[in-house]
């Protein structure tokens, strides 16, 4: 289990991480969100032991992270971190040995992973000769070759088509079942919603939202009512107290309401119309992110 306790990191006078705390249990996928420059990379670097925080601590299974413990961590960086002049085999061996494995063990595992990601034929090809998607697969394999206890995934699906995204998702779920703690970071909120039960949203290094995704959506209050039908009294709906806005989304009307108590008022207005859809839905993570991050900027 990973415990991040009240970490603070300054770069000069700039506070990059401001009193951040979270826990990732074994077999849990945790989302770390934030706009560019919010402090995600700094947080990852602190967890990996690359830089030291000014205060607070990071514990993996109750121990402070040092070079012995980093052998048990896998890290997929946002930008590809591969030595492009090496072959796939050399690259995977290189990172594997640096993670404390011996070359023979790595060689055994490599074939299994390359086969699974359908890139066995590239084993002796140089990294620079591979497509971006295949490079991303190599980067992912290099991060999990040591069967990590903690896996940090920073934009892991970059450059992958939907088929390969599914392939990688399956591998991540498998690791989750094996008990690996996973920290997931992405700007694509649908991935976070897919994967993460818990998350934290950082704004300028400070956690503005944190907790279980379900609870976050509940606490956010704002709901959406999706309507489809004819002769809908749009103007009347707009005047209802608690309606925040109306917009068209993929041929449907989306009514944003303050909280779920407003929903019955809307229903009473449209119940006599020819409606084919009335659905009160939770806000998307994207909406929450924009509201929280954008709100602070405003």
């Amino acid at each position: 289990m990973l415990k991040v306790k009240n970490i603070v990191k300054y770069y000069g006078n700039n506070k990059a991480v401001d009193n951040l705390s979270f826990e990732v249990k074994n077999g849990e996928i945790f989302g770390l969100l934030g706009e560019n420059g919010a402090g995600k990379t700094t947080t990852f670097r602190i967890i990996m032991g690359l830089i030291e925080s000014n205060s607070g601590e990071v514990l993996l299974d109750g121990k402070k992270i040092d070079y012995n413990l980093t052998d048990k961590i896998g890290f997929v960086t946002e930008e590809r971190s591969l030595l492009t002049k090496l072959t796939v085999l050399e690259q995977l061996k290189f990172y594997g040995v640096l993670k404390g494995l011996d070359e023979r063990t790595i060689e055994k595992d490599i074939d299994k992973w390359l086969e699974r990601f359908e890139i066995s034929s590239y084993k002796n090809r140089k990294i620079k000769e591979l497509s971006k998607g295949n490079q991303q697969k190599i980067q992912f394999i290099s991060a999990i070759i040591n069967h990590p206890k903690l896996l940090i995934l920073d934009e892991p699906f970059t450059g992958l088509d939907p088929i390969n995204v599914k392939m990688m998702k399956d591998a991540i779920y498998e690791l989750q079942k094996e008990g690996t703690s996973i920290i997931f970071s992405s700007h694509q909120m649908e991935y976070i919603e897919d994967f993460c039960e818990k998350l934290v949203i950082l704004v300028k290094g400070h956690p503005v939202v944190s907790g279980a995704l379900k609870q976050i959506k509940e606490d956010f209050g704002i709901k959406n009512i999706m309507l489809r039908g004819e002769d809908l009294p749009i103007d009347k709906i707009k005047t209802v107290k608690g309606v925040l806005g109306i917009s068209k989304v993929r041929g449907e009307i989306e009514v944003k309401i303050e909280d779920k108590s407003v929903a019955p008022k809307i229903f009473s207005l449209i119940k006599n119309c020819n409606i084919t859809k009335y659905d009160v839905v939770e806000p998307t993570l994207n909406e929450i992110f924009i509201a929280k991050v954008g709100g602070i900027h405003e």
Binding site: R45, L50, E52, D71, R80, V97, L98, G100, S142
Partner: protein, 436 residues
């Protein structure tokens, strides 16, 4: 030693040695060195008219000195030990006008005359310019002939003449034993020593490029974050330094091997009748007579220590500079001062011979980066003693300790920095920080 450190070093070495370019470069180097050392034989092997046959036709205008001149010519020509030089001398009764009309390219016409003021005068005529050696033979022979004539006329015996013309015997005594050296050493230093230290200069350049290039590559590909999360920055830097130093030392040894092979081939050719150019043998003779070779043997172990330590210092600084840059272009610019310092050392070593006794050059001989170039050359010239080289080594060791101690802090911050913003401020902060 740490397994990961050894593995990093092994991978780094494999990247350097296991490339087709290493093999190709070394084949080219080996061939070039062997060819250069045997250039004389190779030129001869491909043929051409190397027999320097010259026919000297002498017109003796009543001086009666032909026989003497002929003997002198034969004597000088044979003393040169140049098998390609074949001079024949013959006397003719034809007039100089007739001879000039039919003079061939390999013929030289020498007209001997005399008057009241000079015992012997000569007019030398040829179609083309005469080569230096043949002209020297003719000129020396004429001078000797004139001297013999003069001795006969003035009743001077050979002993008396020898007493007059032999050079003054100089008994050279230098009271400071450390400085007991030939005064011609300066000239030798400026011509020979640069050739000896040129490979060291070249290897230093390769080393700077190699350490910096590899660190820069790992940084720009962002693989540095993964590497540094598993090994400490210190281990990472040291593995690069060790691998690059092993590479340049092996490359240096290979250069020595190619030179030895070249010399062995050359020696075999010598024994089968070919010879080194007279310029090379004369330089070698003067090196032996000046005590250069003998001194070189004493200074070699200390010079090797200086060289290895300098390699270390250069590679540490190159590594630290590379960590501060964000791409290859930045590193190319940042390494320029290091290249110029090294070049400065090379020139100072050459100039040491021209500025005997220069206090500045002597002080610079203790300065790290320069000492490996300058110290040995000053010692060879007798300007400093062995103790001064030892002092240079001690200063260099201290310098390496300091750059490692402070530099590693900069390196640790530098390798994870991808921005050029406030770069110097970041590094000065790192430099002053207590955290290593």
């Amino acid at each position: 030693m740490n397994r990961k450190f050894l593995y990093l070093t092994k991978v780094s070495l494999r990247k350097k040695f296991k490339t087709k370019w290493f093999v190709i470069t070394n084949i080219i180097l080996a061939v070039a060195i062997i060819l250069l050392l045997n250039i004389n034989s190779i030129v001869s092997f491909f043929g051409g008219d190397f027999d320097n046959k010259t026919s000297i036709i002498v017109v003796d205008n009543d001086t009666d000195s032909y026989t003497l001149f002929e003997k002198n010519i034969e004597s000088y020509a044979s003393s040169l030990n140049d098998e390609d030089m074949k001079i024949t001398v013959k006397k003719t009764d034809k007039t100089s006008k007739e001879l000039k009309d039919d003079l061939k390219d390999d013929e030289i016409l020498v007209e001997l005359t005399s008057d009241n003021t000079e015992y012997l005068k000569a007019k030398v005529t040829s179609n083309e310019k005469i080569d230096t050696l043949t002209y020297q033979v003719i000129s020396q022979s004429l001078n000797s002939t004139k001297t013999t004539i003069g001795m006969a006329i003035n009743n001077i015996d050979a002993t008396t003449l020898n007493n007059i013309s032999s050079p003054v015997t100089i008994d050279r005594v230098v009271l400071n034993e450390d400085n007991n050296v030939d005064e011609n050493m300066g000239l030798i230093m400026s011509s020979v020593f640069p050739t000896i230290i040129l490979p060291f200069f070249m290897l230093t350049m390769i080393l700077i490029q190699m350490v910096g290039g590899e660190i820069c590559e790992e940084k720009t590909t962002r693989s540095m974050e993964i590497i540094i999360s598993n090994v400490s920055p210190k281990q990472h830097l040291m593995s690069k330094i060790l691998a690059s130093n092993i590479f340049v030392i092996v490359q240096g040894l290979l250069l020595v091997v190619y030179t030895v092979i070249g010399l062995l081939i050359s020696t075999n050719m010598l024994s089968s009748g070919m010879s080194l150019p007279s310029e090379v043998t004369s330089i070698f003779d003067s090196l032996v007579s000046s005590g250069f070779i003998e001194k070189l043997i004493y200074v070699i172990p200390l010079t090797l220590i200086l060289i290895v330590l300098s390699f270390l210092a250069y590679s540490i600084v190159a590594g630290i500079l590379a960590s501060m840059t964000v791409n290859m272009e930045d590193f190319s610019q940042l390494q320029t001062p290091l290249v110029f310092i090294s070049l400065g050392g090379y020139y100072l070593a050459m100039m040491a011979g021209m500025f005997n006794g220069s206090l500045l050059i002597r002080i610079l001989s203790y300065v790290p980066f320069l000492s490996s170039f300058v110290s040995p050359s000053l010692y060879m010239m007798g300007e400093i003693g062995l103790i001064d080289i030892v002092i240079s080594i001690v200063i260099l060791v201290l310098f390496i300790y300091l750059i490692l101690h402070f530099g590693i802090k900069v390196y640790k911050v530098g390798i994870l920095n991808y921005s050029n913003e406030k770069v110097w401020s970041k590094f000065f902060k790192a430099f002053k920080s207590k955290d290593v």
